[in-house]
């Protein structure tokens, strides 16, 4: 997407390093995300992309460096606190509650917004009912938005993979986040499904004003929807810029897109 005026910086990652035993997952990674942007993180497998998301929402505490989010700087944060401050995320291997229906899963996304205590809920009358219905309304808006009304009562475990990913996105959006972290939201989908997902993510960014950081392997998708791209390789950031800039970056090409061999060049010359 072009022509977007970047808003104030929402997330700033500075000098973050993370290692597990001898494995250095992240090495002094620096980048920032402006409010309202769609930022894609790309890189070969094992480059540390998921670990980076985990650090941002507090699942891992980095060994060095800081995260500044919404003006607050810290190193470690409890995931619960991250959620309370408006960070929502989806996971690479779908982390849905398989025993519950789609509607219930999306409703859990609103867990932090529900105030009434246990006793009121047991009574389910008056304030508790009102609250439940209000949040049901909000959840249904998200369900409409992502077009999963037809399966709202189906236990999530029974849905096709693509639909499950959409439900996970719905759950994340139901929390009305400021920052949405998506870990390979389109993995395993066909072209049609990917196009749908792209549309949903862009709509969420446009209409709901959510800032998006997503990990993605499909370069076409990245080129299409990202405002900025951050490239990781072996835990280090090797490029940072608009999709066009990154695509032309020789280091990125070498690490990720592949260095053309003689055979490739002959093939290209032959075809041209």
């Amino acid at each position: 997407m072009q022509g977007k005026v970047p808003g104030p910086v929402l997330l700033e990652v500075r000098g973050v390093s993370l290692s597990f035993g001898g494995v250095h997952a992240l090495r002094e990674v620096d980048f920032h995300v402006s409010e309202g942007e769609v930022c894609a993180i790309i890189g070969p497998n094992g480059a540390g992309k998921s670990s980076l998301l985990n650090v941002i929402n507090g699942v891992y505490a980095p060994g060095a460096g800081t995260i500044t989010y919404a003006g607050q700087t810290r190193r470690a944060m409890h995931p619960h606190a991250a959620a309370a401050q408006g960070i929502a995320r989806t996971f690479q291997n779908i982390a849905l509650f398989k025993g519950m229906s789609v509607l219930d899963n999306v409703m859990t996304g609103r867990a932090l917004k529900m105030r009434r205590g246990v006793l009121w809920q047991a009574l389910y009358w008056g304030p508790a009912e009102k609250e439940e219905l209000e949040h049901r309304g909000r959840a249904e808006k998200i369900i409409d938005f992502l077009q999963i009304e037809h399966v709202r009562r189906t236990p999530v475990g029974r849905l096709a993979y693509g639909l499950q990913k959409r439900v996970e996105l719905a759950r994340a959006l139901a929390a009305e986040p400021r920052l949405l972290l998506l870990d390979e939201p389109m993995a395993g989908m066909n072209i049609e499904e990917k196009q749908d997902m792209c549309r949903f993510i862009l709509d969420a960014n446009d209409e709901l004003g959510v800032t998006v950081v997503l990990i993605e392997h499909d370069m076409a998708v990245v080129m299409d929807i990202a405002d900025r791209v951050v490239v990781l390789d072996y835990g280090r950031k090797i490029a940072d810029g608009t999709p066009a800039e990154v695509r032309a970056n020789p280091e990125v090409i070498a690490a990720y897109l592949g260095v053309p061999t003689e055979a490739d060049e002959r093939a290209v010359a032959g075809a041209g």
Partner: protein, 355 residues
């Protein structure tokens, strides 16, 4: 033909969120309640009331409690009977030592005491999971067993640790006849069942199920894990405590500590498994099954084996059958009788068409 949803459109969230969205279900439930509250006490014999229905309802309450802990929240517990025991002894002591305390208040307090104990034994659940947690709950079981037998204060210095429950009186009305006991237990069971159902369809129930299904993800969404688990332990133990108090006061009248031993915990666990883990109906179905099945088995065995059996052989054969039945249920329908009932209803919706 009869069980059709055609023409029933739910146009509001209120209508959709109902416990029984389908009209026929609502009618059936209303009829069931009328039968239970009006017809049964008038028509059933004293034997059926005191020996079958009262224990069935009392144990169903405990099964509801275990269902909350293990079925919804996924925390495996083998200490159910210990919490019942706490409830029974607490109720006895409140009635004994606090003159003029209303009976229902005693029951609530007994439940709260049991809930407190449940919270204490639930604290390890943050660090410990699965079988380790089950074994940890056994610690509760054995400890409570020992405590009430050894420490005489609890049983008012009775030498064997046995207590005799005081007669029940509510607002001047003595609850002594079988019909009245039955109605008391039925009312409490109905209220607690409704509360459990409500909890399961609101945020608390969803938080429990989230923790059960994938607690790491639940934490990331913002669900407080420890608090959710502790609330499950607390509420579950409250139910078990009330059940224990009712067992002492409304059912047997006397309680020895052995009444709430490991066997009892297993009995309730089986109720929940056979009835259906994670359902409110399952607690009642399972309880009815566990109480009626031995009678049925007894009767069948007597029909088959005419000659006089060695004393005790019958109960041993029952044991074999029960064990085999558990295994059969786990293989054939792990989601229990409640699921079988659900399947029946779904078939009913289509009847008389095959699909």
């Amino acid at each position: 033909m009869i069980y059709r949803e055609a023409g029933q459109f739910r146009t509001t969230y209120v209508a959709d969120q109902r416990i029984f969205p389908i009209t026929q279900d609502r009618v059936a439930m209303a009829m069931l309640l009328v039968v239970a509250f009006v017809v049964v006490p008038a028509a059933a014999s004293n034997y059926v009331l005191t020996a079958l229905l009262v224990p069935m309802l009392v144990l169903a309450i405990a099964a509801l409690g275990l269902n909350i802990l293990t079925g919804y929240a996924g925390q495996f517990s083998l200490g159910t009977a210990a919490f019942m025991s706490v409830g029974a002894f607490a109720a006895y002591n409140f009635q004994l030592r606090v003159p003029g305390i209303p009976l229902l208040v005693t029951f609530v307090l007994a439940g709260l005491v049991a809930a407190g104990v449940g919270l204490v034994f639930g604290l390890p659940s943050l660090r410990i999971k699965g079988f380790y947690l089950a074994v940890a709950t056994l610690a509760a079981q054995f400890f409570v067993d020992w405590l009430f037998t050894k420490v005489a204060w609890f049983s008012n210095d009775s030498p064997s640790g046995t207590i005799t429950a005081q007669p029940m009186v509510i607002a001047g009305l003595p609850i002594d006849s079988p019909a009245r006991r039955y109605l008391l237990v039925l009312s409490i069971a109905a209220v607690l069942a409704l509360a459990a159902k409500n909890l399961s369809r609101t945020a608390t129930g969803r938080a429990w199920m989230a923790v059960r299904d994938m607690d790491v993800a639940a934490e990331v969404i913002g669900i407080p894990i420890l608090r959710t688990k502790l609330v499950a332990f607390g509420i579950s133990s409250f139910y078990c405590g009330v059940s224990g108090a009712l067992w002492a006061f409304a059912y047997l009248g006397t309680v020895e500590p052995q009444a709430f031993d490991l066997q009892r915990s297993f009995q309730i666990l089986f109720m929940v498994i056979i009835g259906g883990l994670g359902t409110v109906m399952g607690a009642f179905l399972g309880s009815a099954f566990m109480l009626l099945f031995p009678l049925f088995l007894n009767w069948v065995l007597h029909l088959i084996v005419r000659t006089e059996l060695r004393p005790g052989l019958l109960s041993q054969l029952e044991l074999v059958f029960f064990g085999a039945l558990i295994i059969v249920f786990l293989v054939v329908e792990p989601r229990g009788l409640a699921r079988l009932w659900q399947i029946t209803k779904e078939k009913l919706r289509l009847w008389p068409f095959p699909h």
